[in-house]
């Protein structure tokens, strides 16, 4: 398979963020380490430090939403585990879905350091009080969707997440470094899986193209509303939680995908996609933001199904939690006796 442009660079940026984190920790802060001084010095805020209420609340919202997305994100792909075309693909898909569970747990743990309990977070997801990424409310109709999700959805997620490795909140930055390193396997396996289909029979090629046609615009929408309409951005940038605007990251993603699509031999479903010499970027058609808002509000093709499935899984697992708690209590009594 040809080399994937961009993947090495993104992994390199994760390594750099990790090095910057270590380097910032070595730098001594002059005088009192107030919240503003720590932010200004590009150092990390840690769990028990004083911080503005809005910083804490905003981070809880963002990290929780991110964690919920990982947990719900297991469903569209879980849909194809039992129907993977080979044992090898099945093992890869299982590992990927297991990683997503892991990413959700790293992120819940990071959110909990801000003083919210796991039970509160679980309830917020199960009741729909907190949202998850709207991308997971789209159906996975064919096997090629596994490739398209890996390439486009995980690709967009990585572009979004790499700058979060430099987030000012220590536990979130550390969790993101770990997540990004693991996520790059997700993107590559997706690209490779799609590449195999794109080199296959006419039917396989058509299946790959159909998957790309359906996932392209929802992937562009993952970067959120246009900068002008983004509600949380300015403060988030000032506090160094967010490092780039939605539109900057979206552009970066488009610029990465165009050459990757050419190598794949698929067409991105945008007749206006052209290189703009003046800007040094590709011009592209924006995703339908009205559709994004509808899906965010719970009216996506699979919104009800995803949440119902999560609730059912939680209820079906109750007996396991109860049995484990009963066993732990019994062992405790033995120790006491």
């Amino acid at each position: 398979m040809p080399a994937v442009a961009g993947a090495e660079r993104l992994l390199g940026e994760v390594e750099e963020a990790e090095a910057a984190l270590r380097e910032a920790a070595e730098r001594a802060l002059d005088g009192e380490a107030s919240f503003d001084a720590v932010i200004a010095a590009d150092q990390k805020i840690e769990p028990r430090d004083a911080m503005p209420d809005a910083y804490r609340a905003g981070l809880i919202r963002q990290i929780a939403q991110h964690a919920h997305s990982e947990i719900i994100g297991m469903q569209p792909e879980g849909n194809w585990i039992s129907r993977a075309p080979s044992l090898r693909r099945k093992a890869i898909l299982l590992a990927k879905v297991q990683d997503e569970a892991g990413h959700g747990l790293y992120l819940y743990a990071a959110a909990e350091t801000l003083g919210v309990s796991r039970a509160e977070l679980d309830t917020a997801l199960l009741t729909g009080k907190q949202k998850y990424s709207s991308i997971f409310n789209y159906p996975t109709l064919s096997w090629a969707d596994m490739g398209a999700i890996g390439w486009l959805v995980d690709g967009a997620a990585i572009v979004n997440q790499v700058p979060l490795c430099r987030c000012s909140y220590g536990p979130y930055a550390r969790a993101m470094i770990r997540v990004c390193k693991e996520e790059s396997f997700h993107q590559r396996q997706g690209y490779q899986s799609l590449y195999v289909l794109a080199q296959g029979t006419p039917e396989q090629r058509a299946m790959a193209q159909d998957a790309v046609d359906r996932w392209w615009y929802p992937s562009l929408a993952m970067f959120g509303p246009p900068d002008a309409d983004s509600t949380h951005s300015a403060q988030s940038m000032a506090w160094k939680v967010k490092r780039f605007s939605n539109d900057e990251l979206r552009q970066r993603f488009v610029d990465m995908c165009v050459p990757q699509a050419e190598i794949l031999g698929v067409t991105l479903p945008d007749p206006n996609l052209t290189w703009n010499e003046l800007r040094g970027h590709y011009d592209y058609t924006s995703p339908d933001f009205d559709e994004l808002m509808r899906v965010v509000k719970g009216d996506g093709p699979c919104s009800r199904q995803r949440l119902a499935h999560r609730n059912r899984a939680h209820e079906d697992g109750a007996w396991v939690r109860e049995a484990a708690a009963a066993y732990a209590a019994k062992k405790n009594r033995k120790v006491m006796a």
């Binding site: 028990r48 430090d49 990683d99 892991g102 790293y106 039970a119 679980d122 939690r321 708690a325 732990a328």
Partner: protein
């Protein structure tokens, strides 16, 4: 609900010769389950050869509010560092 499930801190020794370092935390009803969860959560890619799990409730931590008064006594004892001592020229192996 998961409110009563205790929190555990996980420490992983990456390789022989290195110390256990904090990898993260997780919820588990008892130590055995915590160890198994820690393996699945923090060593899926051979990141460790040994794991410790510690009940988070058992950790006593210094308070960030008292950071200055707590650690300051060490600040004015620069004579604890070898660089404090000027040596005559020509002295080797010291």
């Amino acid at each position: 609900m998961t409110s009563d499930v205790p929190l555990w801190e996980v420490f992983v020794r990456p390789r022989r010769g290195l110390a256990h370092t904090h990898a993260g935390s997780l919820h588990a009803p008892d130590a055995d389950m915590a160890l198994r969860h820690a393996r699945d959560l923090y060593t899926r890619r051979q990141e460790g050869v040994s794991i410790w799990v510690v009940p988070a409730a058992e950790i006593t931590a210094s308070s960030p509010d008292e950071k200055d008064s707590f650690f300051d006594p060490a600040a004015d004892k620069i004579y604890r560092h070898p660089t404090f001592y000027e040596l005559p020229e020509g002295v080797a192996h010291l």
